[in-house]
Symmetry: C2
Subunit: 279 residues, 2 copies
């Protein structure tokens, strides 16, 4: 028997589409229903068999499902939680999200008294849309699950099992811990990357080689998704940005004062840290 | 007839080794002589046939050569220019470098009245050493050549031809223009990358996914090489860093004030700029 009978995916983009494909591969449910706001995308997803059924009507999309997955930008996840609360009569449905910040979302879900489990798969890319989705996106990727003290133990265990069956490496953290960590390991890098490319004068762009390309690849990420992420994690993002500014200032000082030894030491420390992450 | 009779390569690392291999592939000279300061590396390079001959003695390494290539960190290039001036009796030898900043080097060469052509291949990686060298590193890569008003026209043309024969895309700029452009397209990205990884607390490193890895890959670069680059281009590097700091401040302001529309606009502008560079 599969883990769920019917799973609804709200937002069938890179993450939602990859979830649909990997759920099918692992046979974690009998039927996947997708919710779309765009008829063309709906038709394409049905034609490509990413989902078994699809609707432009949220009520129809979630009816009879025992798991609803919200794979949307943060602010939309929060909106959809309220809408689902209003229309859902099935008390047994578990709601899960895949958003990149967790505190605002879990707080909203708790307030609505939903049976909710917050999750964040550390997978994906700067690409957007179901066209880039693939079935093994989550293989060996970390997935952070952020229960609150209102999360039902049975639901938490089921969602943990769900991600484990998708070959993910499950880590349980509080939403606050998640948001603090990700502000350093993800949000800061995105802001630095956007600012970096924005600093390069247009006429110099064609002199950029592989180093600049790598360093700014994530500036190809979606502006709306990422503005939601930054704003929903404001406090932690601002803290990590200030820490980054201090590091920049320190390097500026050594360059200004021609302190070669200190500069080499700073760069070497950074390099050794980066080595820990591997290639 | 090959372009040169004998080429000396001073510093047989990633760039010097790749030059040796690509010179051989294109048969641009009859003999390559390498200068080494390390017996083990010398033996390995001879055994691997990266160079035809090798010496630990600079005088022997450059004797009878009609081209000397300096593929070393900036400060060492400047030191070697003086040493070469002292021992070289052959007035016909052209000296070329492959350093990542150009103004300090060309000024030093002009002062010594050498027949010098400054060049900078925009190729390479964070990797170091002849072990990573390969014969087609310069294929389709840009090479910036920075003549001064003391550069002999014949030497400039010969060096242009040299790089063209290695399949590089040759661009002639003044050393000052080069250093200004590269401060934005390369030096700034390296500093941002070193600072970024340095900002991430150690205990959070294992939460870093592909985005952080890409953004900080160039922080694996050699600390000594890059401290030389930053210090030898101090004025321009500090300018580009200040411009970057302004961009960070602007994003911080929009986040602090919850200005979502302005934030999206900033991110979208950056994204569109990055798109120009391709994947």
């Amino acid at each position: 028997m599969p883990l769920f009978n019917q799973i609804s995916i709200i937002g069938v983009g890179l993450i939602g589409g990859s979830l649909a494909k990997s759920i099918k591969r692992k046979k974690l449910c009998n039927k996947i229903v997708g919710f779309f706001r765009n008829k063309t995308k709906l038709n394409k997803a049905v034609k490509d068999r990413i989902v078994d059924e699809a609707s432009l009507d949220l009520r129809k999309s979630i009816k009879n499902s025992d798991l609803i997955i919200l794979a949307l930008p943060i602010s939309q996840i929060i909106n959809f939680l309220s809408q689902i609360k209003k229309i859902s009569k099935d008390k047994k449905v578990i709601i899960m999200d895949a958003g990149s910040t967790k505190l605002k979302i879990t707080q909203a879900a708790d307030k609505l008294k939903l049976d909710f489990v917050g999750t964040h798969p550390l997978a994906g890319s700067e690409k957007k849309g179901a066209g880039f989705s693939y079935a093994n996106l989550f293989d060996n990727s970390k997935v952070i699950i952020t229960p609150t003290n209102k999360t039902k133990k049975g639901s938490l265990n089921k969602i943990k099992l769900f991600w484990k069956k998708l070959n993910a490496d499950v880590i349980v953290l509080s939403a606050a811990e998640h948001d603090k960590i990700l502000s350093y390991t993800s949000h800061l890098a995105h802001i630095a990357s956007f600012c970096l490319i924005d600093t390069v004068p247009d006429k110099f762009l064609n002199f950029g080689a592989s180093g600049l390309k790598d360093t700014t690849r994530i500036a190809l990420s979606d502006a709306e998704i990422w503005s939601d992420i930054f704003l929903s994690n404001k406090k932690e993002v601002l803290k990590s940005l200030s820490a980054f500014e201090q590091k920049i200032k320190r390097i500026k000082k050594t360059i200004t004062k021609n302190q070669k030894k200190q500069l080499i030491k700073i760069l070497d420390t950074a390099k050794n840290k980066r080595r820990i992450m591997g290639q």
